[in-house]
Symmetry: C2
Subunit: 285 residues, 2 copies
């Protein structure tokens, strides 16, 4: 057996470990530098980055705007590759140093809201949309919302890390998380075989939570893993993922707080609808 | 470099992979065998196992009973080591084949509720307890409830798997997930430095979700990792974990659907308060 590692009695931190994200992973929490966050003119101030967890919120806000709700917002880039999530300003909003975080300055105490799904629940309740108030429909939405929140770490922190970011290709870990990712895609595929949307026949915050992860994965937009995972096999996921992508709000929300991809996929900060319009207008027809 | 693995273009399943849980991990979902589930006499029927995710629900139910709510329940063992989660009956409740799942036969459609946190939200709303209805307190509970749901996979599926269950000790993976687990403990420790309970000064479903994972970990009851993680360093987590353990409901809920540990920690199925009383009575004084 090649692998001769025996864990020590007490673990100690070694800076060499971590792969592509080594510089941003630490065994302690808290701020690394003093910096206040910008505040724009709208009540809703979002501090985020256009990764799947960030896209959830901007898609939600754009869906709310499309429904005629007064959900105007400023979205400020928190570049996690640069360690912006460890500024004193951001840590004051989210002690866990993960994007996204939201502050609603129209609320009584402007309490920081963190964890993407907590923000989705807050916005759904504030605007009375995309989360049924009771009964079976509410159960379905929460079932699938929490399914995503508990499953995506295996996709992002497991499969994505070991397949795309780790400094070496570790066969055991890749197999472990690939198997789980394919199982998750299969769970979702079976659910979508009988339902137009994940939690039933209406769009909900469950779709908005799940699409940025499993929709983008199915469409080949995550980890360059389309062939490896044979994502085309999940035909109902494919169909739903494309239908979601056809939504104006999904297209608009997907490009916010991004500084990578094509020019028409990159809007660093969003302060008005026109900011998005200008970037999307760059797309060749 | 010893590690010469190159992933194939298309991943294929190999039964040899998986470690201690290899037999229950598959790349597809769905039932493996036909079997109906038992149904007891109470409205609330829980299908679960006393792992941390299962303990959340039985602790919640015992807390509700302690509050005088009519939360009587039957708790049926779903032994995940034996593949009970792949029975047709269980898959019909939770297509994701994870414990716990709950059915409320007093509700209009007896809709299956799955994902531990979805069950916590359902029970909190049904019995109007442990989840504030609005304002800053509600935000805090949802922030930390989702924090747990997104963090625990790194503890259980990451650290626990690679430290305790994987067929070999993989140094990189152990380091990665140990670092994240210690960071999470530190996040929690800082929050508990200023709050009696995780989401503020009142017990909530956030504590009930977090204690079975990080409380048990801090008390040395998970993965035999007390020294490795130096859990004693997280003094506020220690204090909270012990205060939670001192609660009657936590002691009662922790032993349900368990078939391991000391004799007074094992109650395979629970149909009445007396079932728990009898097992706890075995504890030496």
């Amino acid at each position: 057996m090649e692998n001769q590692y025996t864990p020590p009695k007490i673990w100690t931190h070694n800076d060499d470990n971590g792969g592509a994200w080594a510089s941003v992973n630490r065994p302690i929490s808290g701020a690394t530098h003093e910096k206040t966050l910008p505040i724009g003119k709208h009540a809703l101030q979002l501090y985020s980055m256009g990764t799947p967890n960030g896209q959830k919120i901007t898609i939600m806000l754009e869906e709310l705007l499309a429904l005629g709700k007064n959900a105007e917002y400023d979205a400020h880039m928190i570049n996690i590759g640069n360690g912006d999530q460890f500024s004193s300003g951001f840590v004051a909003l989210n002690p866990n140093s993960k994007i996204p975080a939201l502050v609603d300055h129209a609320s009584e105490t402007a309490e920081p809201i963190f964890e993407s799904a907590s923000i989705l629940v807050y916005l759904a309740e504030k605007f009375d949309a995309l989360l049924p108030k009771d009964g079976a429909k509410r159960i379905h939405v929460f079932n699938w919302l929490f399914w995503l929140h508990g499953s995506a770490p295996y996709l992002g922190g497991g499969f994505g890390h070991f397949y795309a970011y780790a400094p070496e290709k570790f066969e055991y870990a890749i197999n472990r998380f690939t198997m789980e990712t394919k199982r998750q895609l299969d769970v979702l595929d079976k659910q979508l075989a009988n339902h137009e949307f994940v939690a039933g026949n209406e769009l909900s915050i469950a779709d908005i939570a799940i699409w940025p992860w499993y929709g983008n994965l199915a469409l080949g937009n995550l980890y360059d893993a389309k062939d490896f995972l044979q994502v085309h096999e999940y035909s109902h996921v494919q169909c739903w993922a494309k239908a979601m992508l056809a939504r104006t709000a999904v297209q608009r929300g997907s490009i916010v707080n991004r500084s990578w991809g094509e020019p028409w996929e990159q809007l660093e900060n969003r302060h008005s609808a026109e900011d998005i319009d200008k970037v999307l207008a760059l797309k060749p027809v």
